[in-house]
């Protein structure tokens, strides 16, 4: 299961971030989102979407064995996590985030809400996933 990102289509509207946090925290605060947008302005005038690609490296480096794989999605066990920050430091894509009100790293759990409401088609399920669904 993969989230496919096409940053060239992103307009920076942040609806993905709002919906991410509303879905997971029931709060209106995009600052807690597991998806981020880097704005490259004034030059070259483009956006870059950053979100976890479920590579699983965090599971390997977690000293508490708090990160586990559930149907190819890496999730954090709130009970085991000590918020030591090692996974954040070691994340090869820099897509584990923090917020001072949240006591564990913020990570994409591939719920798909952002895909549903991205108005620009910048987020989608990966092709393999779609083909699988068709089968």
């Amino acid at each position: 299961m993969r989230l496919e990102v096409d940053s060239t289509k992103c307009t920076g509207c942040s609806i993905c971030q709002l919906i991410c946090v509303l879905h997971h925290f029931k709060e209106n605060n995009p600052k807690k989102a597991a998806i981020r947008i880097v704005r490259k302005f004034p030059v070259p005038g483009s956006f870059e979407i950053r979100v976890c690609n479920q590579c699983g490296h965090c599971e390997d480096v977690c000293p508490e064995e708090a990160i586990y794989n559930e149907e190819e999605v890496y999730k954090i066990d709130r009970e085991k996590c000590t918020n030591c920050g090692i996974c954040i430091e070691e994340c090869p894509t820099g897509t584990l985030f923090t917020h001072k009100e949240v006591d564990i790293p913020i990570k994409c759990d591939l719920c798909g809400e952002c895909i549903e409401y991205c108005p620009s088609g910048a987020l989608s399920w990966s092709k393999a996933e779609k083909e699988e669904a068709i089968k």
């Binding site: 307009t11 609806i15 209106n28 956006f47 620009s120």
Partner: protein
């Protein structure tokens, strides 16, 4: 309070004092937010007759309860002040990410008072609010400052800044943000400049409390789904407001050559398809906006990046100043943005100066050799720079076309295209009676955003005035609510998201449980209050301030609207009808009865004192 940040920042720049106060709940209930807060605060707090560029003036930045909330295009921040350009009530709004960030830091409003000794900027990082030294940013362009401040403070800070035009008190200087969003009209940037405030930098992490979060999520998801399925969605997302260029040209309302329209011109070089093909880089959205109307562009010819040109820039620099190449318009757009000047007023004033030059009212000696003719791109570029720095003739142009024509005389007021001192935005309206009435009665001057009636005018034709005053009043009641909620009007306007949805979302966020009629009454209260502000501030205020320049009585000389014009009798008839609907007297002053009916009893005494009623 649900939907609100809950705090107000009051900054006295003369005393370097920052206060944080609780938001007044009664104010929220009676005036909602944004423009409503501003109208009330300016009326109550500004002493009558003050100099807009003096320390007694205040400038207010306000959010609405929906700013920063999960709702389509809930991105708006509104600035308001006594305008240095018009001398009357003024507010101007912009999208971007400034107000969502302010709300996440916990604030609904920032009130700027007094005048700082040295250039400063306001630094807000959640609970920390400081006045900081801005000497290293002073003198720099808005795009350059925003980039530099983000490098200095962090990418996540949202920045609003003025440019050299604001510092130099150009009367239509603006406030810029997000590399291309502007609170453009009425000289907000000049008021910041007069107070020596260069910028605001804000970061917030807290989120906004919602009355019924599940309800809001459902409403917003439905609204987004509706918008994305609308047949016009993809087209508007692609072209944004530039799509109006074709409509305006085909129907004959493109403001060609200072709204003279003496030549039929196809303007093939300004068409939206060409813009996409030649200079487009990316689609850019404001906070929570599915429509992403902004086209971010790069001109190879002039090697500049800019957000735009939008319709107004294309029609004002392209049509009114007669620059017929999209890259020329794009470059003029860039200059205005970086200097921090309102494109509509800059281009409107330049077009007026071009007509004066062609008629010999302004001479080549006065322009220091610049051939200030329609279509002369090099001349336009030179003049834009002169305005920003008030060099030579630029000083005269920096006052706007009303003040210019008063100084120049020679009947130039007949084609000085302004109402109440504010330059017309880009709709030539000799065949659009309701649009003209919209301009005449807009409470900041000749601006299109309070009421835009082109489609209705085209449908009804240019002659009859039947029902148009009612239409204008209704739009002037509904549309300004968007600027009280803190949302952009485009989902409602462009893809017809029904207003009932906004009422539901407002109630889900605030829990106020207001009906549409409750909201309309509040909107009318605010409109009447801004009218009272004008009546109090401008000595001889009345009907004559609503009347258009004589140009609208000249028949259109060329093009598809050839021959169309309005008569003084008709125009006065519109006003009679309109004043009656508003409950104002025949000179356009709100009556005692109307003021009391709207809960504005305290205004009655004031207007009596000034001999207005």
């Amino acid at each position: 309070m649900n939907g609100y940040g809950g705090k107000v920042i009051r900054i006295n720049l003369s005393e370097s004092k920052v206060e944080k106060l609780d938001l007044n709940q009664k104010l929220a209930k009676e005036y909602i937010g944004g423009r409503g807060f501003i109208a009330k605060l300016l009326y109550d707090e500004l002493p009558s007759g003050i100099d807009p560029l003096g320390p007694e003036n205040k400038i207010v930045m306000a959010a609405g309860p929906l700013s920063g909330v999960f709702w389509p295009s809930a991105a708006k921040v509104v600035f308001g002040t006594k305008s240095p350009l018009t001398g009357g009530y003024a507010d101007s709004n912009m999208g971007g990410f400034l107000m969502s960030e302010m709300k996440y830091a916990g604030y609904d409003m920032v009130i700027f008072e007094g005048k700082a000794k040295n250039p400063c900027y306001i630094f807000i990082d959640d609970d920390l609010v400081e006045i900081r030294d801005a000497s290293k940013y002073w003198g720099k362009g808005t795009l350059d400052v925003e980039k530099k401040m983000k490098e200095d403070l962090g990418e996540e800070f949202q920045i609003a800044t003025i440019g050299p035009a604001g510092e130099n008190l150009v009367k239509y200087a603006n406030i810029c943000h997000d590399f291309g969003r502007q609170a453009g009209r009425c000289g907000m940037g000049a008021v910041f400049g007069s107070k020596k405030v260069k910028a605001i930098a804000v970061r917030g992490t807290k989120g906004i409390k919602i009355h019924n979060v599940e309800e809001l999520m459902n409403l917003s998801k439905l609204a987004l789904r509706y918008i994305m399925n609308h047949h016009y969605f993809k087209l508007f997302k692609m072209y944004g407001t530039t799509g109006s260029t074709d409509l305006s040209l085909e129907t004959g309302f493109f403001p060609t050559k200072n709204f003279r329209l003496d030549q039929y011109e196809k303007f093939e070089g300004l068409r939206p398809e060409l813009m996409r093909e030649r200079i487009w880089v990316s689609d850019k959205a404001c906070f929570a906006c599915p429509l992403s109307c902004a086209n971010y562009t790069h001109s190879k010819k002039y090697d500049v990046f800019v957000d735009g040109p939008e319709y107004e820039a294309i029609a004002m620099f392209g049509g009114s100043c007669f620059l017929r190449d999209i890259e020329e318009v794009q470059y003029a757009n860039y200059l205005c943005d970086n200097y921090g000047m309102d494109i509509i007023s800059t281009a409107g004033t330049i077009a007026f100066a071009m007509e004066c030059y062609e008629r010999g009212i302004i001479t080549k000696k006065e322009t220091e050799g610049i051939e200030l003719k329609f279509g002369n791109f090099d001349a336009a570029v030179k003049i834009i720079k002169k305005i920003a720095y008030k060099e030579g003739i630029g000083g005269l142009l920096s006052e706007g076309c009303r003040n210019m024509s008063e100084k120049l005389g020679k009947d130039s007021e007949k084609f000085a295209m302004h109402i109440k001192g504010l330059e017309f935005s880009a709709h030539e309206c000799r065949g659009l009676p309701a649009m003209l009435l919209s301009y005449m009665t807009s409470d900041i001057g000749a601006q299109h955003t309070r009421s835009w009636t082109i489609m209705q005018d085209l449908k009804l034709g240019g002659d009859s005035i039947e029902g148009r005053a009612k239409l204008v009043k209704e739009l002037q009641t509904l549309r300004p609510l968007m600027e009280m909620f803190g949302v952009c009007r485009f989902p409602w306007l462009e893809v017809k998201l029904d207003f009932e949805n906004y009422v539901k979302a407002f109630n889900a966020v605030t829990g106020f449980n207001y009906s549409k009629d409750d909201l309309f009454e509040i909107s009318e209260r605010v409109w009447t209050l801004t009218r009272a502000f004008w009546a109090r501030e401008v000595k001889d205020f009345g009907r004559k301030y609503d009347l258009p320049p004589e140009r609208v009585y000249e028949p259109v000389p060329a093009g598809v609207t050839k021959g169309m014009h309005l008569t003084k009798e008709k125009v006065n008839q519109y006003l009679d009808e309109y004043y009656e609907l508003r409950g104002w007297n025949s000179n356009g002053i709100p009556t005692e009865e109307k003021l009391k009916e709207l809960g504005l009893g305290y205004v009655v005494e004031d207007l009596k004192k000034f001999g207005k009623i």
